[in-house]
Structures are given as structure tokens and as C-alpha cells.
């Protein structure tokens, strides 16, 4: 009834307090009560419209005298237990209680003073979240937001009747509770009872700019409030298709890095071993001369670039164009190399397109979710929250992960395999799907090839061996296989636990084949959905940031394509595949690579086998680092270019579901810095290539001419919610790929036997533990940005997780420092004892430079895409000397 009235009469026609657009009705405030008659002039009954259904022929009287009396009296009651200090309240002017009180015309309270909760103390314990429960009106929107949106169940209610009050955990503070600081409760709260340190609901923050989060591939829309050039707070727009009013703490609260005093604020050149500030003119000339020199002396292939998934599509496009058209080499790669390159490659091999087949919104339409090697509640929090809601609400979910992740706890099946054995377990799943006759024969016949061979080889696998190597019982795999294969619609999500392995590409192909064998492709609620790591990792690849394919995934060695690019760029291009990142490092060490230009990527902290990376950096003649902060990599640079953050520029990001969205500049670039796209344009012009100044509209228009699936995209038509590529010329976008045909014609089955990684084969005996790596919610990758926000107060250091049995065996206690040693080196790190990891397995993060975990990771790579195997490292551990003290 209420939504019906809102649709026809407007959002605030009937006043409400406990209702919220993204929450289920609660029926608490009763302000929405209306008089309902079944016929014209018939007897009326007062009904709360938020939880009553309209039906044909009803007469809804929304403002009868009786109802208005009721509303006024309810508000009067509310005000008997509410401080009357509106003028000094942070939400004054933007408070729903205040508004509703004015609407119903309440001016004074007639009740004598009675019991109240006005002496409740404020909770200012937390880095971001605040509460002042004297302002609480018991609408329970916060409790429902924490439950229905975030699924964290931190907030609750204690006591009963008049004593009912909001609690965090067991009457704890925000800081002591399990709160993950998503801010959903603060945004939901109609008063200032729950808020944040940024006072995000204050009306002082009048000017608002809508943009896209810079952190992960979910691509949440943000509404940034500012006063002048100062950013005040961030909220999430309700009408955002991607995040419907939700974010995680990174998007909502971790923005204070943007004007952090450690921002790089001038170009620098290393002179006599020291980095010295110089002018833009000087640095441009320096770079142009140097690069021209290398080109002449060693050829264009002595130069390479690593572009950044943190930058806009337009900037990535310009970077690859610069390397290809101005420098003249295909030595361009991006961070996707170390995360999802196997996804792009594997899915291209099976389907023809290396991107998510469906949308996150399809979770609403699916009957089963398979999560493989991903921990989305930490790494992709808003998508993670949606998957968690699915599982909490009883949706069957299968989690394939060595760790007992948050999602694994809620899953129907958790297959806790030994790291590095995805391929083995997936083959077991195929085995049971075939044995149980759950294959979709119709789909296989019409849309795929290679199945008969595949089937034969699957049925030949040795289940005893698979069971032993993976450590997962075959009955468990069978049950999971049946759940997935018998669901009407099943969708899969996978992450770096699939790709960062020696058999990464093969595992991706298996996930794709799993969709094929069960016909889970080409409609809503199905498909293969990689959880792309960085905000624009999808976009960087789309724009041609890879050595073998140019903008739009076209093969640079193909003469026709080559020609097309040369004509379009009006330049001479190379038609040889360039170097991938690991190859760049090898070339550098071999002395063949003279110049490396890195944008927004801290390879020295995040790439595996740090020692080798540092050696490579030191070996190039000219290391150019374009960055926000003096990262570990920047410290090694010969030239520093101070770039701009997402808040300081416009452009587009493409999220993990192929949605191209508008990033709008909120504030001017930090003094002394420039928009990265403009830096590239400047240098292109300086080197004699004419390229107009950087504007989002301009570059996007250029991109649309060369990237086929951007053909119909314009800055204008992206509007607030963007478009999912491919976008045809008429502007229609695509939610679901492969509905009728695959890009490669037929879906492709290919069997791959499990092969033990070289790391284990070589080192298992001397280094019996397997270390795997993971992410924490609070920090983003190397932490260059999140460590410069108050997120550090919430999570302060890297730790290694150890199973209680192993800890006992090694005499390690919670908080002890342990030494982890691999064939590459050793690190000391604090121990966290938990049964989230199985015996023999360790897991750690790498957000903090204090502990360079990548000192010990290996440089084993995926055989196909050269993605490094972060997820399997052979180590041994021991307690280090002395107990670690904070």
C-alpha cells in the first residue's frame, strides 16, 4: 500500500519514520497508518500501509481527521523521549523526525516529564562510526540495515517495552563490536543517533558530486559532499544500480588520503642519487630526451610501460597509445597480469570473450551460487554482502576455498581443498555431474564442441588420487556437484584463488566448462562472473593494456588489425607481441630493458619475489614512476610524476560486470599534481605526437571509434548508472553475454589433468607448510591509500593465520612473532591462531610495507597467462625470539 501511495502521490505524501527504501517493512512507527474502505463510502479500518497489500477496488483515505490525529499524537509521544536540542544537533535541517514533526504540525508536548533515555552516553570509540542513543527513536532501521543489507548482525535490541534500546553486540561500543564500518546503519538512521565522524547527514555539506569508488571492481556509486575544495563526507545514492545505497568502509570512509600531507606534490628527477623537485617543463624534456635516446640506441623495445587499473579508461587508453604509437612497441602491460590475466585468457578460450557473462544483480534471479577462490565479503564487500544475503536467506551456496571464509560459514557446502588443487576438485565435480546424469545434453549438442573427448577423459580420472591430493572427501564433492548441477539457475563467482596458480588459466576454463555442461549460460541468474580486483582492471584490459592485444582486444600481430590501428593512430606500430610484466623484469635484469614507466602500481610491494623485482627496478636505466605517494617502488625511481586521485579527475571506470560508469571530478588536483591523462598528453605532444588536451568526453569519443564494443557509448548517454558493454551504435547495452551464440562460435570443452605445482614438487620436504595470501576488508592491496586513512586504526598490521594444532605443535601462541621462511627468504610476522585455516596451511595479507611478505612468495607462474602463483608458497615456520609486544 505504502509503495503504491508513494508511486502515485510522492515519497513523502504519507509521513513515515521506520520505513526505508532498501529495507523490509517493520511496522514500528505506525505513522503510515491510513483509513481503508473496501468500497466507496464504506466503513473504514485503520491499517498500517507499509505492511498491508492494496487490492482492486479499495479506497485509501490517507489524511482523514482521525489519521492526522493519530500521527500527531504518535510524534508527540516520540518527543516525550527525545532531546529538544535540534539547533545544536548535527543533522539539524536534515532530520526525518524534525521534518515529520513539522509536517504533522506538532509544536509542543503536553505530557508531564516522565521516564526517558536522555542521559544515554555518546559512543565515540570508533575510527568512523559514532552514536548518540539519546537521539534514538527506536525505528530499528539501523538493526535492519545491518541485517538485511550488510548481513553483519552487529546491531540488535535489548530489553523490552519502554526499556528497549539499540545495542552493538552485547552492549559493546562500536570499536569493540564486530562492526565492519560499512556505514549502512548511519545512512539508514533518520536522526543523528547513529552517524559517522564526517557528520555525513549534516546539511552543511550541500554540494554533492556523484562519482565511482576507486577501490574495487564492484564499482559502487558514491555521492561526495564538499564545501569549496574540501571533501566533507561520502554517502551512497539509493538509485545506484550497482550498490543501491550501500558501500563498504573503503568507499564511504577511506577518502582522507586525497589531501594527505604525504601526497607527492612536484615532479622529481634523481640527481646525484637524490630525488630532487623539478618543474614540469624540465621533467617532460628530460623524459622525452631520454626515451628518444633509448629508441635510437636500443630500439623501441627497450622501453616498456605498466599502466594502472586505478586510472580511468581514458588514461589507460592514452598510456597504451603512448607506448604503441609514440614509443612504437607493444611492451605494455597492467596489473591484471598478477590477478585476472588467466580469467581473460581462459574465458576467451572457452567462450571467446574474457569478461563476466552476467551481472551482480542476477543474484536476485539465481537458485545456486558457486564461489571459488574468492573472499568477496573482504575483497568485494558490496557484492560479498549480496552473496551473503543470498546464503543467509537459505540460498544454496557452494564455497571452494582452503579457508573457512565468512561466506564458507554460511555455505551449504564448503569444500576446503588444499591450496593449488582447484583443477583436481573441479574435475571431481565434472565426474559426478556426468555420473549423476545431470548434464544438459540439449545445450551441449547445440552450443558446444569437444564434449565427447572431455567426458571420456573425465571418467578416466583416478578419484582416489584426486581425493588424496585435494584433501576433500568425494562424497562432499558429489553433494556439491549435485547442488550446482540440479539448480534451475546457477551462477559462479571466482577470484584470485583460482587465477593465482600455476594452473590458473585451466581452472578458469573448467569454471566456464562447468557452466557449459549444465547449460548455465546466456540467461539471467547464471554464468561465470569473475570478481575483478581493482576498480578498473576490466577497463584497462578493454583499453588495450596488454602486450598481445590492442584497444578492444584485437590481435596486434594480425596484419588487418595492425593496419587498422596504424591508420587510426596515424603512426607506425610494432606488430610483435610485447613483454608481459614478469618478462619485463627478466629483460631488465638481463640488461635489455632500459626504460620502464610505471603508473600507480607498487610492484616492489605487491609483486611476488620482491628481491628479484627490486633488482629489476635497479637495473633499468630510467625508472619513471607516476604516483600519489612515495611508495616502495617510487623510492627506487629516477623520475617521479605526481598524479591525481579519482576525486580530482573525470573519466570512466568499467566494473567487473562490464559496466562503464562516469567518474566525475570532485575537487581540483592537489597542488603541484596533474591529472594522469594530462601528463600523458603532455609527453605525447612533447615527443611530437599531436594529442588534444585530456577531457573525459574527448578521449571517450576517440575510444568509441576504435573499440567495437564501445561504439555506442558517449559521455552523455552513460548518465548516472552507466552502460554494460557491448554497447551497440544505437546505445543499447548488454546485461547478459552469450545469449544466443558465443563470440568464438561454440563453447569449448577441454580437459586438463591436475598437475602438482613446481613449488610443491621442489620444496615440499624442506618447507612443509603451504602459505597462501588473502586480503582484509579494511585495506586495499599495498595499502598506499587505505593506510593513509583512519582505516589503520581499525586494522593495524599484517598477521599470519595458523591452525591451532600447528600452533600447538610449534609452541606458538596468539600474538607471538613467528618466522616464516621460504626458499626465497624469510619474514617475521605476528601469529593469529584460528581454525579458519586447516592444518598445514598458513594464510597472510600484504597490506603493510613493514612486513614484505612478497620477500618469500615464489615466482612460479601460471603456465598460460604468466600470472604469479601467490596462493601457494612452500614455507617452514618457527617461533621467533621473544614475544611480540605492541
Amino acid at each position: 500500500m505504502l509503495s503504491f501511495i508513494k508511486r502515485h502521490k510522492g515519497q513523502t505524501y504519507v509521513p513515515t519514520l521506520c520505513d526505508a527504501p532498501n529495507l523490509k517493512p517493520s511496522g514500528s512507527c505506525r505513522m503510515c497508518t491510513i483509513d481503508v474502505a473496501l468500497e466507496e463510502g464504506g466503513r473504514t479500518k485503520a491499517m498500517a500501509s507499509c505492511h498491508s497489500m492494496v487490492s482492486e477496488g479499495m479506497h485509501l483515505h490517507t489524511h482523514t481527521e482521525d489519521i492526522q490525529r493519530l500521527r500527531k499524537n504518535i510524534i508527540e509521544l516520540v518527543l516525550t523521549d527525545h532531546p529538544l536540542d535540534c539547533l545544536t544537533c548535527e543533522v539539524n535541517g536534515n532530520c526525518e523526525l524534525q521534518t515529520v514533526a513539522a509536517t504533522v504540525g506538532i509544536t509542543s508536548v503536553r505530557y508531564p516529564e516522565g521516564a526517558n533515555h536522555l542521559d544515554k552516553q555518546k559512543d565515540l570509540s570508533h575510527a568512523y562510526m559514532t552514536s548518540d542513543m539519546s537521539k534514538c527513536i527506536n525505528c530499528y532501521r539501523c538493526v535492519r540495515a545491518c541485517d538485511e543489507v550488510q548481513g553483519q548482525l552487529v546491531l540488535g535490541i535489548a530489553g523490552r517495552g519502554f526499556d528497549s534500546h539499540i545495542i552493538k553486540g552485547m552492549e559493546q561500543t562500536f570499536a569493540d563490536s564486530e562492526c565492519v564500518s560499512c556505514g549502512a546503519c548511519a545512512q539508514a538512521c533518520p536522526t543523528s543517533a547513529i552517524s559517522d565522524i564526517f557528520q555525513s547527514k549534516s546539511i552543511a555539506n550541500t554540494e554533492k558530486v556523484r562519482t565511482i569508488c576507486t577501490y574495487c571492481g564492484v564499482g559502487c556509486n558514491l555521492e561526495v559532499s564538499k564545501v569549496g575544495d574540501a571533501i566533507k563526507s561520502i554517502q551512497a545514492p539509493m538509485d545506484a544500480k550497482v550498490n543501491q545505497g550501500h558501500t563498504c568502509l573503503k568507499g564511504r570512509y577511506a577518502f582522507q588520503f586525497y589531501n594527505h600531507k604525504e601526497r607527492l606534490d612536484s615532479p622529481m628527477i634523481r640527481k646525484n642519487g637524490k630525488l630532487e623537485k623539478v618543474s614540469w617543463d624540465e621533467v617532460y624534456d628530460y623524459i622525452a630526451n631520454k626515451i628518444n635516446g633509448y629508441k635510437k640506441e636500443f630500439g623501441a623495445d627497450a622501453i616498456a610501460g605498466i599502466s594502472s587499473s586505478r586510472c580511468t579508461n581514458e588514461e589507460n587508453y592514452l598510456m597504451q597509445k603512448f607506448i604503441r604509437a609514440v614509443v612504437g612497441t607493444n611492451n605494455i602491460d597492467g596489473c591484471a597480469r598478477i590477478c585476472h590475466s588467466p580469467t581473460a585468457l581462459g574465458m576467451q578460450r572457452t567462450f571467446g570473450t574474457g569478461a563476466a557473462t552476467n551481472s551482480v544483480g542476477d543474484i536476485k534471479d539465481t537458485n545456486c551460487i558457486l564461489v571459488i577462490g574468492a573472499n568477496p565479503t573482504n575483497a568485494h564487500p558490496v557484492t560479498g554482502a549480496k552473496i551473503k544475503q543470498f546464503a543467509m536467506g537459505g540460498g544454496p551456496m557452494i564455497v571452494l576455498d582452503p579457508r573457512r571464509t565468512e561466506l564458507a560459514k554460511y555455505a551449504k557446502h564448503h569444500l576446503a581443498l588444499r591450496p593449488g588443487t582447484n583443477v583436481a576438485v573441479m574435475n571431481m565435480m565434472f565426474y559426478y555431474i556426468i555420473k549423476e546424469e545431470l548434464v544438459d545434453n540439449e545445450f551441449i549438442k547445440n552450443r558446444t564442441e569437444g564434449f565427447e573427448d572431455f567426458k571420456k577423459q573425465i571418467l578416466d580420472i583416478n578419484m582416489d588420487v584426486m581425493e588424496r591430493v585435494s584433501g576433500v572427501k568425494r562424497e562432499d564433492v558429489r553433494a556439491a556437484a549435485i547442488t550446482y548441477a540440479s539448480a534451475k539457475n546457477a551462477m559462479s563467482f571466482h577470484g584470485l584463488g583460482v587465477t593465482e596458480h600455476s594452473q590458473g588459466t585451466f581452472a578458469v576454463m573448467q569454471i566456464a566448462d562447468l557452466a557449459l555442461i549444465t547449460g548455465n549460460i546466456g540467461r539471467k541468474g547464471v554464468g561465470v562472473n569473475p570478481l575483478r580486483g581493482q576498480n578498473n582492471v576490466q577497463g584497462a584490459a578493454d583499453m588495450g593494456v596488454q602486450p598481445h592485444q590492442g584497444a578492444g582486444y584485437m590481435d596486434v600481430t594480425n596484419p588487418l588489425v595492425h593496419n587498422q590501428y596504424e591508420t587510426f593512430y596515424k603512426a607506425k606500430l610494432s606488430d610483435e607481441i610485447g613483454l608481459k610484466i614478469p618478462e619485463m623484469f627478466d629483460a631488465a635484469i638481463a640488461g635489455k630493458l632500459k626504460c620502464l614507466w610505471i603508473i600507480g602500481e607498487d610492484v616492489a610491494q605487491t609483486d611476488p619475489n620482491t628481491k628479484k623485482v627490486v633488482k629489476a627496478m635497479k637495473n633499468v636505466d630510467l625508472l619513471i614512476v607516476q604516483e600519489l605517494f612515495m611508495t616502495e617502488t617510487a623510492k627506487l625511481a629516477d623520475v617521479i610524476l605526481p598524479g591525481a586521485s579519482f576525486l580530482e579527475k573525470s573519466g570512466t571506470f568499467t566494473n567487473g560486470e562490464r559496466r562503464v560508469q562516469r567518474v566525475n571530478q570532485v575537487v581540483e588536483p592537489y597542488p603541484g599534481t596533474k591529472v594522469d591523462g594530462q601528463i600523458l598528453v603532455d609527453i605525447m605532444n612533447r615527443m611530437g605526437y599531436t594529442q588534444p588536451d585530456y577531457t573525459a568526453e574527448g578521449v571517450l569519443a576517440e575510444v568509441a571509434q576504435i573499440v567495437p564494443f564501445f561504439a555506442g557509448i558517449t559521455w552523455e548517454n552513460l548518465d548516472i548508472n552507466g552502460k554494460q558493454w557491448p554497447v551497440s551504435k544505437d546505445g543499447n547495452d548488454t546485461q547478459i553475454l552469450h545469449a544466443e551464440t558465443f563470440k568464438r562460435g561454440l563453447g569449448y570443452f577441454e580437459f586438463h589433468p591436475f598437475e602438482e605445482t613446481k613449488e610443491i614438487l621442489d620444496y615440499e620436504e624442506k618447507y612443509p607448510y603451504i602459505l597462501t595470501t588473502n586480503r582484509e576488508l579494511e585495506h586495499y592491496n599495498c595499502g598506499a591509500m587505505t593506510r593513509r586513512t583512519r582505516n589503520v586504526e581499525i586494522l593495524t598490521e599484517d598477521v599470519v593465520m595458523i591452525n591451532p594444532k600447528d600452533a600447538k605443535k610449534k609452541g606458538i601462541k596468539e600474538g607471538d612473532m613467528v618466522c616464516m621462511e621460504s626458499p626465497r627468504g624469510k619474514v617475521d610476522i605476528k601469529a593469529h591462531i584460528t581454525d579458519e585455516v586447516k592444518k598445514g596451511i598458513l594464510s597472510t595479507t600484504f597490506h603493510f610495507p613493514e612486513i614484505m611478505v612478497n620477500n618469500i612468495t615464489s615466482d612460479v607462474h601460471d603456465s598460460e597467462a604468466m600470472c604469479p602463483e601467490y596462493k601457494v608458497v612452500s614455507v617452514r615456520i618457527r617461533k621467533s625470539k621473544g614475544v611480540f609486544r605492541n
Binding site: P25, I74, D81, N138, E148, G156, F162
Partner: protein
């Protein structure tokens, strides 16, 4: 209520039940430690805020009551009798003040001086008795009350034993579920829990909602102070009640029957459990009962002291281990109830009546009573009557007959009868002759039959004092979910208290607005119902109450 919590709680099934576990922990410690609550939250993935929040709702779980050793009844029947103060004083000899807690109605309304000690109820005790009880000497704490049927014996038939249960059960199976439903439909039976809702309608709705798992719940939370007819049925007619549950379960396709029994009725819990054990031994519950292909099992869930748990959706939340707050409707429990499954909740007396209907057919039952209120009704009379007790009368029997003929008139001067629990109306003596025991007669006269308990208000007691007690009960037992009741019952109590304690006069318009807000705005009949007795009191005892209001 949270759909997620329902689902998470339901994952473990009814046998591994969160609320049951909480109850057991609380029994040992008087409350549940944070450590245990955290463990439960972890086990059920439901969050500590929920386990803690639920715990804090119940009288017999919350930390405030951890040290209570003895509980004195503060139900209206006992309070009105004026005997509780003396009892408390006598108990004060053995216990510190803060060791004496309250329970609201132990079902000993016919005797009063009721209290609860170490899991047992006692009433009408002398000084000597108290000493014996507290010192742990052997003492028979059982009570006796009048009990008989005025005309038809439907619920008070003698000696329903397991053999009779088995006979009727095989008859039920022979009829088949459709025929059983038809009989219930033709009996016209309406719910005895207060709302008078047709039973067949709910069963049909649940029957037509497909699901592998469904529940029939017996609402044995008889929370109305002054009511003890359900207690009678549970203790004296366990097989009758259980058969009713099974027949209802059979109709709707439920494989689980749950009895939600209030902790204030310890004997009922023991007796029902014994009956269940016996049925299990005789294979009259379990798998493929009597080769019918029907599987059915029974489980008792012991309540923990909260009146609102008698409201069916709060009851469902309670079993799930959520805070027992009232749910919004729709969805109705018959479609989306316990753990999100189709669920029918019926009162003890409603279910017990099925025994007769199964035995004699729906028509036979429909013939008893009036056209719209068929069958018989149990009425509980408190100790102000000369013959207190439980009486079974045909629907439509004049109230006067009950008061005079069965109750034998009053021992002391009485000015009004509070009939149908705290949310029922207050009937002034002169209106007795206008009322018959049936739903319509009470409605038409501006009262409520409810569960048909009769609590006398002595002439000596000030009406405003009675209203203060009533409003204290209302505010203490409000679940707190909806604004009008959470705030309104508190403010109403404060206004009355202030008028009673000082020379403060209540603003009539304000009070009228408040009652209107409660009645029109409340989510459930707790807040929505409480204005009725208040208005009755103001209307019929206006002369007396007017003194507390501004003129």
C-alpha cells in the same frame, strides 16, 4: 523479526533449537553468561546482539533476575485478593528482598497466596507451610478446584487415557485428512485463544501451502492473569490436547507438533512430557504411525516469562531464538511461520476440542452452543467466588448463570468483573445480566470474551488503583516494537500513577488522545486492546474515576 535470523535458526531444525538451549542454560545459572551467548551466536551464526538481545527480553533469563530465589505471583487475581503482601512479608523471613521476584499468574487464581519456589508452584499456604517448603521438608503443593460441565461434556470428559487416544487416532487416519478437515469445518469451531478465528480456515491455508516442513504449534502460554483453563487441560487432559495437535497436523501436513508451555506451569510441562514419552514408547508418534504413512513428532518448548509470547507471531519469534517481538502481517504464519515454514498456532482449548469433534463428528459439535459461537467454553473463576474453579458451559450460557449458579456468588463485595484477560473489558455488576458466554454477546455490548477468565474487582479497591496495576502490566509486557504501545503504555502508566500518588489531575483530552493512539495505532492487540478496559472503567465508574481528571 528478521527473515535471515528465521532461516539461520531453522537450519538446525527444531531438535537442535536455540531457544531451548538458552532456556536450559538459564535454568542452571539464573541467566546466561556473555561467554555462552557468544558461543550460541557463533554456533547459529546469528550474532551476539541477537542472542544477548533475546536473553534480555525474558524475565527468567535476564541478568537482573539472576539472584531471584522465590517468585511471588503478581497476577491481577492474586493482587486483587490482597493476600500477596502478607505472603511476601512471610517469605521475607527466609529471603533477602532482592531474592524475591515476581511471576505473573501461576494459575492458582482460585486460591491465591501463590508463589513459585525451586521449580514448583504453591498457593494458599500458611506460615507453617511456608517454613516446610523453604526448609525442603516434604510438602504436597498440589491444589484442588471445582471442575465440572454445566451441560455438555466436551472438554471435561472423564479419563481420556492413551487407549482412547489410540482409538480416536486410528479413526482420524481412517477418515483421511480431507474428511478430517471437513469435520473441523462443519464443527464451526473458532479459536479459544482470544481472537475467535475459525480454525478450519487456518488449517486449510497451511494445507494449501506446499512445503516439506510444516509445524502445528499449541499455544500453551496462557498468560492472562486469572486464566487457568489451559492449565487444567494440559495437566488433566494431556492426551486430549495431543490428539488435537496430531489431527490438526495430519490435516495440514505437519510432521512436527510443538507445545509452547509457559514456565509458570511446571506441572504441565512434566505431565505433557510424560504423555509424549508414553506415546513414543507405544509408537503412537514417530514414523509411519499405525501404518498410516504419517510421520509426526512432538516437542515441548518451555517459555521464559514474557506475556507477549502468547501472541502467535511473537511466540514464533521466541521459538526461533529471536526477540519475541510481534511480526507484521502479511505474510501470515500459515504461509510463512516458524523458520519461514507454513505454521498453524492454536490455543490449547481449541486443539483439545478436536478430540470431541473427531469422536462425534463436526455436526455434533456445531449443535452445541449458538449458531456463530459453536461448542463449549471453559470459564475460570477466581477466589472471590464462593465456588472458584473451571466450568465448562455451552456457548450462549448467560453470564449470570455462571456467576450465580456455578460460581455461587461472591464472597466479598465486588463492583466489576474483568473478563477475558487484561485486554478484555471490565463488566460492571449491573451488566452481568445482559451478557451471555459467547463472542457475539460480548462484542455487541462493548466487551470481549477473550479466553473467558473472570477476575473480580472488589468494591474496596479504587478503580484508579486497578487501572494503575493494569497499565503497569501493559507497559511491563509491551514488546516495545511499535511506537504507540512502547511509549503510550509507559505514559499512560505515568499519568495514572501521578494522579494516584499526588494531587495531579489528568488532562482528559490528552488521555483520550492517548487511548485513541493506542487503539488505532498499535501493531498488535496488546497495545490495541488495553484501551478497552480503561474506557469501560471510565465509562462505568465515571463518578469514581472523574476525581483524577481535570474537570
Amino acid at each position: 523479526m528478521s527473515k535471515n535470523l528465521s532461516e539461520l535458526s531453522g537450519r538446525k531444525g527444531i531438535q537442535d533449537n536455540l531457544f531451548d538451549k538458552m532456556g536450559k542454560l538459564a535454568l542452571e545459572e539464573g541467566t546466561i553468561s556473555k561467554k555462552e551467548l557468544a558461543k550460541l551466536a557463533d554456533e547459529f551464526l546469528m550474532g551476539t546482539a541477537n542472542t544477548y538481545g533475546a536473553m534480555s527480553f525474558y524475565d527468567f533469563m535476564k541478568p537482573d533476575n539472576k539472584n531471584k530465589k522465590v517468585y511471588v505471583c503478581n497476577g491481577s487475581a492474586c493482587k486483587n485478593s490482597g493476600k500477596q503482601a502478607k505472603l511476601t512479608k512471610r517469605l521475607g523471613k527466609y529471603f533477602d528482598k532482592d531474592e524475591i521476584g515476581h511471576m505473573t499468574c501461576l494459575g492458582r487464581c482460585h486460591e491465591n497466596k501463590a508463589f513459585h519456589f525451586e521449580g514448583k508452584n504453591y498457593s494458599d499456604v500458611s506460615k507453617k507451610d511456608i517454613k516446610k517448603i523453604i526448609k525442603g521438608k516434604s510438602f504436597d503443593g498440589s491444589d484442588a478446584y471445582n471442575m465440572f460441565a454445566y451441560n455438555h461434556q466436551v472438554l471435561t470428559q472423564k479419563g481420556i487415557k492413551m487407549t482412547a487416544f489410540a482409538t480416536v487416532l486410528s479413526k482420524v487416519f481412517k477418515m483421511g485428512s480431507e474428511k478430517v478437515l471437513n469435520e473441523i469445518e462443519s464443527s464451526n469451531i473458532r479459536g479459544r485463544g482470544g481472537a475467535g478465528f475459525p480454525m478450519a480456515f487456518k488449517l486449510k491455508s497451511a494445507r494449501d501451502t506446499p512445503n516439506d516442513t510444516k509445524f502445528i504449534i499449541c499455544n500453551a502460554d496462557e498468560g492472562d492473569p486469572g486464566a487457568y483453563s489451559d492449565r487444567y487441560l494440559l495437566e488433566k487432559q494431556p492426551y486430549m490436547v495431543l490428539l488435537g495437535m496430531m489431527a490438526a497436523g495430519y490435516v495440514m501436513g505437519a510432521n512436527w507438533g510443538i507445545l509452547y508451555i509457559r514456565a509458570e506451569y511446571p506441572d504441565a510441562v512434566v505431565i505433557i512430557q510424560k504423555a509424549i514419552d508414553k506415546l513414543r514408547k507405544e509408537k503412537l508418534i514417530g514414523k509411519n504411525i499405525l501404518d498410516s504413512g504419517f510421520n509426526f513428532d512432538l516437542k515441548i518448548i518451555k517459555a521464559q516469562g514474557a506475556y507477549i509470547c502468547g501472541e502467535e507471531t511473537a511466540l514464533i519469534n521466541s521459538i526461533e531464538g529471536q526477540r519475541p517481538e510481534v511480526r507484521t502481517r502479511p505474510p501470515y504464519p500459515t504461509q510463512d511461520g516458524l523458520f519461514g515454514k507454513p505454521t498453524v498456532v492454536n490455543n490449547v482449548e481449541t486443539l483439545a476440542a478436536l478430540f470431541y469433534i473427531m469422536e462425534n463428528g463436526g455436526e455434533a459439535y456445531a449443535k452445541i452452543g449458538t449458531k456463530r459461537s459453536s461448542g463449549t467454553k471453559l470459564v475460570s473463576l477466581d477466589s472471590f467466588f464462593n465456588n472458584p474453579g473451571i466450568y465448562e458451559v455451552d456457548m450462549g450460557t448467560p453470564l449470570e448463570t455462571v456467576v450465580e449458579k456455578l460460581g455461587g456468588g461472591f464472597k466479598k463485595e465486588v463492583k466489576g468483573l474483568h473478563i477475558g484477560g487484561p485486554l478484555g473489558g471490565i463488566v460492571p455488576i449491573h451488566k452481568i445480566k445482559d451478557l451471555n458466554i459467547d463472542f457475539e454477546s460480548f462484542n455487541e455490548n462493548g466487551f470481549l470474551l477473550g479466553h473467558a477468565s473472570i477476575v473480580c474487582i472488589p468494591t474496596k479497591m479504587k478503580m484508579m488503583t486497578y487501572l494503575q496495576d493494569l497499565m503497569e502490566f501493559a507497559k511491563d509486557e509491551s514488546c516495545g516494537k511499535c511506537f504507540p504501545c512502547r511509549l503510550g503504555t509507559q505514559r499512560a502508566y505515568e499519568l495514572i500513577e501521578k494522579a494516584n500518588d499526588t494531587n495531579y489531575k489528568i488532562d482528559r483530552t490528552l488521555f483520550d488522545d492517548l487511548l485513541h493512539t493506542l487503539k488505532t495505532g498499535s501493531l498488535c492487540a496488546h497495545g490495541g486492546g488495553i484501551p478497552l478496559p480503561v474506557r469501560n472503567a471510565l465509562d462505568y465508574f465515571g463518578e469514581e474515576t472523574a476525581l483524577s481528571f481535570q474537570s
